[in-house]
């Protein structure tokens, strides 16, 4: 609103910058996260595929069978090159992991029996990916789940919805959460999620459901179609945590960001923010010159929180920084860390559970009264004929009578 044309230009430049980055990320993610055949076909990516494959080979020495007993069933069933690649990113984190049953009291309990009876058939709902997390991460996840169950009367599921602009890393975040590739990742709307999708994975009697949604950006305005689809998709679902995903290196909350937040607030009501959370992707970014990393994160967080407050958020919305890229640094235990040493996977799960637990308001359920815009006024159609009659038999005669009463100056 208060922007000058100069700002506009700046905005535009920002946009193009982001665009470039997206492109770059796309490549990165193709090679690193998506090991599927179709991706492998991409000539551009092939080089990096090779590189990644090499990487995995070089690491083979240690992690020849890093997955231990638990996920092998699935992995070995599809032990093709892409599959190996799929695991490759994690592989560099896993060598040091020596998962052992005693340390995983509850969680692996479920996965273990499953592959046992039917080693060949994979249960599509089994949360296999959890096992690729380093030991410490798994422990943390477990304690979080325990907390959830303890504090909310044995709740055995957690449903998370990811919202955000296109290409900010919603699907990647979901994949990171699951530890496996469940959603196709793309920087572009056309081949990424065009419809909302929910994936549920169970492990040890606990079900994690993630709803991935299409990007809310359409050109430079809010994608109403996506909102409509999301609204429709949620009709029979309950969401515990709404995650608004944006990039850490977005630098500012633009007008369109604000608009998107307003749009989702309008759609779900301001209660949304009481179960809301911000996730900032690309956490491994170098802070701008003269800023420390923590200061940078702090600044970005407060921007988004201010934006949420502008959308009638009453409580402070927590912010979690993540790094979905495979090049994410790890600590000695193999846990993924951010430049400020945060163990972000654990942190993410902890905060998700915190939000799910601490909120006093009921989880977001689809409100039938907050409907998508009634584009063709289907509900008001009955008013057409009364309005016509009103016009024809009340407004018209009244006006005519008034005209007859008027003084005629001619």
């Amino acid at each position: 609103m208060e922007k000058t044309p100069a700002d506009q230009v700046e905005d535009f430049e920002d946009g193009s910058e982001e665009f470039d980055e997206d492109e770059y990320d796309e490549d990165e993610e193709f090679t690193d996260d998506d090991g599927s055949e179709e991706d492998a076909e991409l000539v551009e990516a092939s080089q990096e595929v090779v590189a990644a494959a090499l990487k995995s080979i070089t690491k083979q020495e240690a992690p020849a069978a890093p997955q231990t007993e638990i996920p092998i069933a699935a992995l070995s069933a599809s032990a093709s090159a892409p599959a190996a690649q799929d695991v490759a990113p994690e592989a560099k984190a896993t060598p040091s992991v020596k998962p052992s049953k005693p340390e995983l009291p509850a969680l692996p309990a479920k996965p273990v029996p499953k592959p046992a009876p039917k080693p060949e058939v994979t249960d599509p709902n089994a949360w296999k990916g959890i096992s690729v997390f380093p030991q410490a991460t798994i422990a943390s996840i477990q304690s979080s789940i325990g907390k959830l169950q303890k504090e909310s009367q044995g709740k055995k599921d957690l449903t998370i919805m990811l919202l955000g602009k296109n290409g900010v890393g919603k699907s990647s975040t979901a994949n990171s959460l699951f530890g496996e590739k469940v959603f196709n990742v793309s920087a572009f709307q056309s081949n990424a999620a065009v419809k909302p999708a929910m994936v549920s994975k169970s492990a040890a009697g606990f079900t994690l459901s993630v709803i991935d949604t299409p990007g809310l950006l359409d050109g430079d305005s809010v994608n109403e179609a996506s909102l409509d689809m999301i609204s429709e998709f949620l009709q029979d679902k309950t969401v515990d945590v709404v995650v608004y995903v944006d990039r850490l290196d977005g630098y500012r909350v633009t007008k369109i960001d604000q608009k998107i937040m307003e749009a989702i607030t309008n759609l779900f009501g301001p209660a949304l923010w009481s179960i809301g959370m911000f996730v900032l992707t690309h956490g491994q970014v170098a802070p701008p010159e003269g800023h420390t990393y923590s200061h940078f994160v702090e600044q970005r967080s407060s921007q988004l929180q201010a934006a949420a407050r502008a959308c009638e958020a009453t409580e402070t919305v927590p912010v979690v920084v993540v790094e979905n890229g495979s090049r994410c640094a790890t600590n000695k235990a193999g846990e993924k860390i951010l430049p400020d040493e945060t163990l972000w996977v654990s942190n993410l799960v902890t905060r998700l559970v915190d939000v799910a637990v601490q909120t006093s308001t009921p989880a977001l359920e689809h409100d039938p009264f907050i409907q998508e815009a009634d584009v063709y006024a289907k509900k008001k159609r009955w008013m057409i004929i009364p309005l016509f009659l009103l016009n024809a038999f009340i407004v018209r005669p009244l006006l005519t009578r008034q005209i007859k009463l008027d003084p005629d100056f001619n």
């Binding site: 050109g219 004929i385 309005l387 005209i403 001619n410």
Partner: protein, 666 residues
Amino acid sequence: MALSSTLNADTSKLQRGGGDGGGGGGGNFGVQPAFAEADDEDEEEESEADADEGEDQKFLCEGVKAANLVAGPGIPTQAELFDGLNCQPGAMVSRKELSEDLTSLLSTGLFQNVDANVQPTGKGYVVEFTFREKVWPGMVEFKISGATVLPEDVADEVLAEARKSKYTTVRVLAQAKNIIEGYYQEKGLSFGTISHFDGMETGSVIAHVIEGEVASVNLVYLDDKGGQSNKGSTNPRVVRRELPFKVGELYNVEDAKRALRDIFVLQLFDNVQVVPKPNEEEQSKVDVDIVLKERPLKTAEVELEWGIAPGDKGRPDLVNIRPGGSVFFENRNLDGEGRQLYGSVSTSNFFSPNEDLGFKIEYVHPYVKGDHDENRTCLNVSAFNSRKLSPVFTGGPFADEVPPIWVDRAGAKATVTENFTRQSKLTYGLVLEEITTRDENGSVCTNGMRNSANGMPSMDGPPTTFSDSGTDRVAFLQANMTRDCTYFCNGTPIGARDIWQMDQGLGIGPGNPFYNRTSLSSTRFIMLKTPGRRSEMPPPVLVLHAKGGMAIGDLPSYDAFVLGGPYSVRGYNVGELAACRRLIETAIELRVPVPKLNSHAYSFYEYGTDLGSSKELAGNPTEFYRRMGKGASWGGGMKLGAVRAEYVHDGNTSKGNFFIRFGERF
């Protein structure tokens, strides 16, 4: 412009005609045989004296003077009295001519006696007229005879004035005449005059008035050579039904003006005059002649456009070999009944006219309910096409340029117009239309476009039509009523104006578009202070304006309400604020007179909102093109004739701009 100037010319003719024919209302004493009590004796004396002198003897009149001439309202001034005389400075005057002058001065009836005194000066003579006023006993009673429309108290008013003088003099009578004729003038009864007074000697004066009752109304057709006839190609009833004159009623100038205007609007005549003249048999009655000069009623024109420009060899060459142009025909007076047929076709390429064919064919049938229809109900049937830029596909303040969408409409409609008054009318009818939306290259498009980041237009915007093919066919009822009771006070409108509009889709056509779209707009021009009688300054005026609209049902983008623009919320482009289903616009403007310029300076505040209804429009074009959905503006300006120069502050971007606009905002 041409019409109005001609009309003015005719008005002046009318006034002159009225004056000549009726003998004038004002001080035209020379012709009017008023004051019949003229004293003849003195006159005879004079003429005898004249006879003594030789007729051939002429003298040079060097100057004319008046002595003892009374002055006052209703009494001719010296200049007026002397205007028609033979004795003019520098003229050679004979004795006889001088005596004629005396007679004519006496015959005004104003004077007891008039003497001429001829004195030599230098080469010639100075003529001095000495007047003696008539004096009668004081007035005790005053009656008006022959009056039908004068209120009773006019006589009392005259008497009250007359009693202020001890004697009844010419001045007193002139005053009475002024009062009575002033009353007639005020009512527009230009033939209302006093024919004569009597009973001055007794003190109970009677004023005889004639009021100018219309005896007959005649149509006079002028041919090209100026000859007159009673017949023209136009059926007389076409003219007669427009005439407000009725035989037996009083002739009124306002009626004459209205007749002039209404006949002119028929567009059948080049020249119209209303000529009232005293009836030859009864002086108190008036015959009204409507003098008409018919204009050519059938016109056809063909215009061809061949572009010529220097070719590659330097010689003139045709720009293209495609002949473009237009064909136009009209008949404004089918069968002499005033019915009109009008048609035009234009294209830039006659060999393949379907590319950009523009056409309009219209048939107008006035007085469709008969000649005695008070509302002058008029039937209008037309087939048309049009191409307009859609204001729905307009960008907001920060949007990049939005690729334009053209809306082509082709169809037919039949409407009936009831003219309640000159300005207030109701029009209703049925419209069948085919609407096609096109992009800037002219190809049919189904969605609005936007220039994406890489500069390529992407066609993913809001749908342009109801169907998904880019072409809609709709049938709807249309009604439109204007209640306008504004009048002009020193050039500025005062009063109320309301406009009500409704489109009712009938659900006929592909997809059965069924909808109702209603809007109502009200404007009030409130005069804050009545200007003085003599003042030519426009009064200070407060203008209040509000408009509301709603549309329910199937509403394609081209029928959406748009917000913003010089007639919606000033300071924004047309459609810059929103395209929506419901809207409210409000405006307040204060106009204050500017001395010397006799014009208005004004300041205003305007606000419009879509009431959040933009999102109910398919594809939300408001949001898609980054528009605000609402906005206010304020500013001020100055009216200079038809031009408004104004500064407008745009509330959304907090920027101000200067605009020059023509015409009125409201």
